[in-house]
């Protein structure tokens, strides 16, 4: 990771990444030749590897070991103020490395010297000199010396007093007074490991002592320094103490020291000269703290600590400090922390979806981007800086352009130059990549999914976060000119955003995609994106939309494009045809087959800027048996667009299996449409107005009666030398069967009807069952018993084409077979009448012209109370298809007139049946007629008939004729009759006195013609009498 | 007047149903004007029913005057049906015209009138309802919206004009 941060930042890397464990160096260990040494050394290494020890061991020779020189500081007495002494910087850059890598805490010297060696004195002298030299080299650092005397034979064999004596002299000679500074290695090879274990522990202790001494030393300085004023010094001291404590392994102490260091740092004057240095130091301090915190496995503290740090410094710019520099600094902070975090995680720390290193890499990237933009702001080609540029790297965070050495002008120039050289894009990209890899591992969640019945948890990637990252990555890939990868990323992102209807994001993705397509010369992809960019949903300034469209024009015209489109891309467009192949691979939302040379844009797979709807109308008479197709276009492009070769693909779907029919005939699939046509004339699409292209297609002469025409897709080409085909296809073919032709606006109105109101493809048309004929009855409810009822049946051809060989059928009874109480008399078609005795009649009908109508008269005789139910059918041929229209009528039938009789004597007293009358006696019959109907009726005539009475052969008329009665009114009248002598030999049985007849008609219907067409006669019987031949009288009976 | 207990329901239901109705009508008809008409018509049909329901629940004696009637309608009627009260004011000298002000008009709660429907009288049903109710009480009136909250006025106001006092239809002469 650290590799990302160039220049100044790199210098910090050792400081930040330096190992913090005690360092022990070993001299005189000849692993090569000496078997024992070998074992000794390997055991140590093993311990290090297995983490049994924290000590770092290094082998070296007396002359390779070199302690960094300690530069002598001016001796300071108490009470000296900081005017006398201002350190040039806060912290030396190389200081931590010096102590962590160069200066050992313990120096172990192996010496092969037997206790009983003859030349003991000489050897002792050598050692003395060696240690002498080492000591001088050490220049009074507190590094501990340890000597190890190797013995070939075990000590026990040596007399006690020799050892003590010689040991003593040796110590004094080499000045190894310290208790644990002289050891002997006398055991056999096998026992060495145990010995090593002991020694390792001892070395560790010594190291601890060493670092404690160092701490004490530094603290001594602190005591004399002035807390109130010499902040920088205190920062330095505290840092040192902290660092030593780290080496010591006392992380908590370290943390607290660093903390205090920070506090002091905050007090240091924050001048533009120092700003950079101060912030860098702060960064270092915080980094060290976080490192400790992670090591003491307190990640949350670390995070809190760090975010506090960033929050404190985010806006902390010194006057005149260049924002780019600041952004760079923050970016670096994040990057550092991220890598620390990452290390911790790799070291087994658990992280969660919402707290993981990836986030911090992301943030780092954000600031890297900000740095870039800030740098761009002041971007003006600046020459390489002069000799001033010799950078001094003695102090942390001091660069030449921030140290007082350079003037402001120079500084600015240097910064510009520096930022200019800086490979921003790649840096950002690396950060983003790092972020993404980590995101991938954490953006995973368990999702319940139903697998054959039971619910199981399936892992699901939360891809949105990644998509966003990819979008950004794509952006920088473009800057890096890595267009191929950028394309793939951008397209994937675009797909996601399109699906989610995140238009503004989609726009960004598309713009990238477009740039790539441009650079790669992928015509198809380029045009696709351009078209989509113009879609109304995409938020884009008018100019940009225009730009996008002009891009298309350039392609179709094959003109070379100016660089107006995007800064400095290669003009990559050759002829569209040649690029067709490439475009088919990396073309945008799904280019399909390049059948017609140029690339094809499938509008169904993108957000279309040019919409297309197809409406199919039923065949028109003028265009005998041709389907009329209206193709409506609406373009959202800013400028007019000229298209040509408009070609709808129509299929004939037979109902029922229509669905799978369409399934097989989706656009793109091989089989050709049943009906097709291509309009070669060009059409201009005016922005945001509906343009309708109308054309007719011949249908096969005789379609099955359930056939329907289905449009599956439409193709059109943008006019130009390298035309680009557009293809609108049905979202899914299954819909085709469901759509109906009911709510279709007439072609004339298409341009005016709102676009949303237009039914969109797929659209079916020409469903032949739908007849063009309507049958209606004109009549007056209710029907009256006895009436001859004339029903005017109007057969109207509502279509604009004639109906041929029609037959009109009528039958008694409702369509549902409900019973009726009428007799069909006749059917009259313009004058000609057709009669039949049966309860069904039929008559041929002349052809009915378009929008004409034909009236058929159906006469029925209503013969009883009940229902007048008739059903009329019309069978006819329409567009060569047999059709049927049916209508049924049902009316209540009532008796309009009620008649009641009374038998009276001449005085008008009503006769009761006990009374007997002699023959020749006069009597009266009182008749009362009333109607319940609202309709007024006219009594044309009314008479009595007494068949049995020879005397009164002729009917006795009622005077109440031509009376008109309405609801609730009554007509009554008396007829005087003389009971005649009995007919000789008349059978003495009960017979009717006679019958009563009324002839009437509706007041509304005129009755100039005497015929019964409108006049109705209703008959009712008079009361009964019975006749006794014995006596010459008859006895009346009251009516039964 | 002894008022009987009237079953009451959450006011939102009425408001929202009415809103839904208006919105739907706007889809079905071309012009706002037609919608206004339809609302007025429906209002009338509701009004003629409401008035009987009202009388049945608050067994009111016939009000003496048009003035009295309007006041009752504003006070009692609105309270009973919509749970708000309206106030009658600005009587003309001849007591033939007044304005009815609906204090917090429940119909317009939540409503934000879109600009394309400036012509719409959102609350036009009031007019019809009042007209219908008064007509059954023998007053043929013209009711028009004069102020509309949705059009920026501070409250909803209707103007009621008495056109004619109806009398029982005499029996047909015969």
């Amino acid at each position: 990771m650290a590799a990302v941060l160039k220049e100044q930042d790199d210098l910090l890397v050792p400081t930040l990444a330096v190992p913090t464990t005690p360092l022990v160096k070993v001299i005189g260990l000849h692993v090569g030749e000496n078997e024992k040494h070998k074992v000794f050394w390997e055991t140590l290494q093993k311990r290090v590897e297995q983490g049994e020890t924290v000590v770092r061991y290094e082998r070296c020779t007396p002359d390779t070991i070199n302690f960094p020189p300690r530069k002598d500081k001016p001796q300071r007495q108490l009470g000296i103020t900081e005017e006398d002494y201002i350190p040039p910087g806060i912290m030396k850059l190389n200081w931590p490395t010096k102590h962590a890598l160069k200066i050992p805490a313990v120096l172990v010297v192996f010496i092969q010297l037997e206790w009983e060696a003859e030349d003991w004195e000489d050897k002792e002298q050598e050692c003395a000199q060696l240690f002498e030299s080492l000591r001088s080299a050490r220049n009074n650092r507190s590094t501990r010396f340890v000597a190890i005397l190797e013995q070939s034979k075990p000590q026990t064999s040596v007399p006690e007093e020799t050892i003590t004596r010689r040991a003593h002299t040796f110590r004094t000679a080499c000045d190894l007074r310290h208790r644990s500074s002289l050891f002997t290695l006398d055991m056999p090879q096998g026992q060495i490991p145990t010995a090593v274990e002991k020694l390792d522990a001892i070395f560790f202790d010594l190291a601890q002592q060493h670092y404690s001494d160092e701490i004490k030393r530094v603290e001594a300085h602190m005591d004399i320094a002035n807390q109130a004023t010499e902040h920088m010094l205190f920062v330095r001291y505290l840092f040192k103490v902290g660092f030593f404590s780290e080496l010591k392994g006392a992380h908590r102490d370290a943390i607290s020291r660093y903390h205090r260091a920070l506090e002091f740092l905050a007090k240091v004057g924050f001048t533009s000269a120092r700003a950079r240095e101060i912030k860098t130091v702060a960064g270092v301090l915080v980094a060290r703290m976080c490192r400790c915190l992670f090591q003491t496995s307190a990640p949350l503290e670390a995070i809190a600590q760090f975010s506090a740090h960033v929050r404190a410094n985010r806006l902390r710019l010194a006057p005149g400090e260049h924002p780019a520099v600041h952004a760079a600094w923050i970016a670096q902070q994040y990057a550092t922390f991220a890598s620390l975090f990452k290390d911790a995680v790799d070291g087994g720390l658990g992280a969660i979806m919402l707290q993981h290193p990836g986030l911090y890499f992301k943030f780092a990237a954000e600031f890297a981007v900000r740095r870039m933009t800030e740098a761009k702001k002041t971007q003006s080609h600046t020459p390489a800086p002069g000799p001033v540029a010799a950078e001094t790297h003695t102090y942390i965070g001091q660069v030449v352009y921030t140290c007082e050495a350079a003037s402001n002008a120079q500084q600015l120039q240097l910064i510009k130059w520096h930022e200019q050289q800086y490979p921003h894009a790649s840096v950002v990209l690396q950060l983003l990549n790092a972020a993404r890899t980590i995101f991938e591992t954490y953006c995973v969640t368990k999702q319940p999914a139903v697998v054959n019945g039971q619910i199981v948890a399936r892992e699901k990637k939360l891809t949105r976060m990644l998509t966003i990252l990819d979008l950004q990555r794509a952006k920088f890939l473009v800057l890096q000119r890595n267009f191929a990868d950028a394309t793939t990323l951008a397209r994937a992102a675009a797909r996601a955003f399109r699906a989610g209807r995140w238009w503004s994001l989609l726009r960004d993705a598309l713009l990238l995609h477009k740039q790539c397509a441009w650079a790669l010369g992928a015509t198809g992809a380029f045009c696709t994106t351009c078209i989509e960019l113009c879609a109304p949903q995409i938020p884009l300034s008018a100019e940009d939309k225009t730009l996008a469209q002009s891009g298309i024009d350039d392609v179709v015209q094959g003109t070379h494009m100016d660089d107006s489109l995007s800064e400095d891309f290669p003009v990559a467009f050759g002829s569209a045809a040649s690029d067709a192949t490439t475009s088919s691979q990396d073309g945008g939302g799904g280019d399909r087959d390049q059948t017609d040379g140029g690339p094809q844009i499938d509008m169904a797979s993108i957000t279309p800027a040019v919409e297309c709807k197809v409406l199919l109308y039923e065949p028109d008479p003028e265009t005998d048996n041709r389907v009329r197709v209206c193709i409506a276009f609406r373009s959202s492009l800013p400028l007019p667009l000229r298209i040509t070769n408009i070609a709808p693909a129509l299929h004939i779907a037979v109902d029922g299996d229509g669905a799978d029919d369409d399934g097989s005939t989706k656009p793109g699939t091989s089989d050709a449409p049943d009906l097709s046509i291509s309009l070669s004339s060009t059409t201009a699409l005016i922005p945001n107005s509906t343009k309708v292209v109308e054309l007719w297609l011949a249908t096969p002469p005789r379609l099955p009666s359930t056939a329907a025409v289905v449009c599956t897709h439409v193709r059109a080409a943008i006019v130009g030398t390298h035309p680009i085909a557009l293809c609108w296809s049905t979202p899914d073919a299954s819909m085709t069967t469901t759509t109906t032709t009911t709510t279709m606006p007439p072609p004339a109105q298409l341009t005016t009807t709102p676009w949303s109101a237009l039914p969109s493809i797929p659209k079916t048309a020409f469903v032949p069952q739908r007849t063009g004929v309507r049958i209606t009855h004109a009549h007056t409810p209710p029907a009256f018993v006895g009436e001859r009822y004339r029903i005017a049946v109007t057969v109207a051809n509502t279509k604009s084409s004639p109906t041929t060989d029609a037959t009109f059928r009528v039958e008694a009874g409702g369509a549902d077979g409900s019973p009726t109480t009428v007799d069909l008399l006749q059917v009259a078609v313009d004058g000609k009448t057709h009669t039949s005795s049966s309860d069904r009649l039929s008559a041929p009908l002349p052809d009915i012209q378009a929008n004409a109508s034909q009236t058929v008269m159906v006469d029925v005789l209503v013969n009883a109370v009940g229902h007048l139910a008739i059903t009329t059918r019309l069978e006819y041929t329409f567009m060569g298809v047999e059709c049927v229209a049916q209508h049924s009528l049902s009316l209540p039938i009532v008796t309009p007139l009620h008649t009641t009789f009374q038998l009276l004597d001449t005085q008008g007293e009503s006769l009761d049946h006990e009374m007997s009358l002699p023959a020749g006696q006069d009597m009266c019959v009182g008749v009362q007629i009333e109607t319940t109907q609202p309709e007024r009726l006219v009594l044309v005539d009314a008479w009595l008939q007494l068949p049995w009475a020879a005397a009164v052969a002729k009917p006795l008329r009622l005077s109440a004729c031509h009376e008109e009665i309405g609801a609730g009114e009554r007509v009554s009248d008396l007829v005087r009759i003389t009971l005649p002598p009995l007919v000789p030999g008349a059978d003495p049985t009960t017979t009717a006195l006679g019958t009563f007849h009324i002839k009437w008609r509706r007041a509304t219907s005129t009755c100039d013609d005497g015929d019964g067409s409108s006049c109705v006669e209703t008959t009712s019987t008079l009361p009964m009498v019975d006749i006794h031949p014995s006596t010459l009288d008859c006895r009346l009976h009251s009516p039964t | 007047m002894a008022r009987r207990e009237v079953k009451r329901v959450n006011g939102e239901l009425f408001t929202m149903t009415y809103g839904a109705l208006v919105a739907q009508l706007l889809e079905d008809y071309e012009s706002d004007d037609e919608v206004n008409k339809q609302l007025d018509k429906m209002g009338y049909n509701i009004g003629v029913r409401m008035v009987d329901d009202f009388i049945a629940n608050t067994n009111t004696e016939r009000c003496g005057s048009f003035k009295e009637t309007c006041t009752t309608l504003a006070k009692e009627g609105f309270r009973m049906f919509l749970g708000v009260t309206a106030t009658i004011s600005n009587w003309t000298a001849d007591d033939k015209e007044c304005t009815l002000t609906i204090d917090d008009n429940p119909l317009v709660a939540f409503v934000e009138l879109p600009d394309e429907h400036r012509e719409l009288n959102y609350c036009n049903m009031y007019c019809g309802a009042i007209r219908g109710a008064l007509e059954l009480l023998q007053y043929r009136t013209r009711v028009t919206m004069t102020k509309d909250v949705l059009k920026g006025d501070k409250d909803t106001q209707l103007t009621i004009t008495l056109l004619e006092v109806l009398d029982d239809v005499p029996p047909p002469e015969d």
């Binding site: 919402l354 986030l359 954000e366 969640t445 368990k446 891809t463 998509t467 | 839904a20 939540f110």
Partner: protein, 140 residues
Amino acid sequence: MKISGVAIVGRQNEPLLLRTSEAQPPCEPIEHIIYAALDVVDDHALLSAKKSTPDALKFYLGALYPLEDGKCYGYLVNTKIKFFIITQSQAHSDQDVQSIFQQLHSEYVRMACSPFFKQDAPITSAKYVRFVDSLLASGS
């Protein structure tokens, strides 16, 4: 608390309203923040579907994920509408955030009750936008 952005996302996770304060906009484009945050909301939704602890069913989802300079909070209501608040500076009491969400929601409901309200369409109601902006403005 400083609110730098407010977002409302519809049933199909399509954006209905995205507003940022001009004074202090969030560090990255609000689209990026919200789009990514949807992942976390999904996660919550799945969670609540599995276990039915009262907390899992709360409208208030708490902080969704950390931003460079703030947090993104989420609020998922019964009607599957998602509300988001982007704050600057890290620490806020949940009560405060929650109360803001409740205001946002109830105002939304008022708007949604308007008969002219279009379901699942980007929010155009001037009234509501004004309200949201007032929230953004009152940053303190």
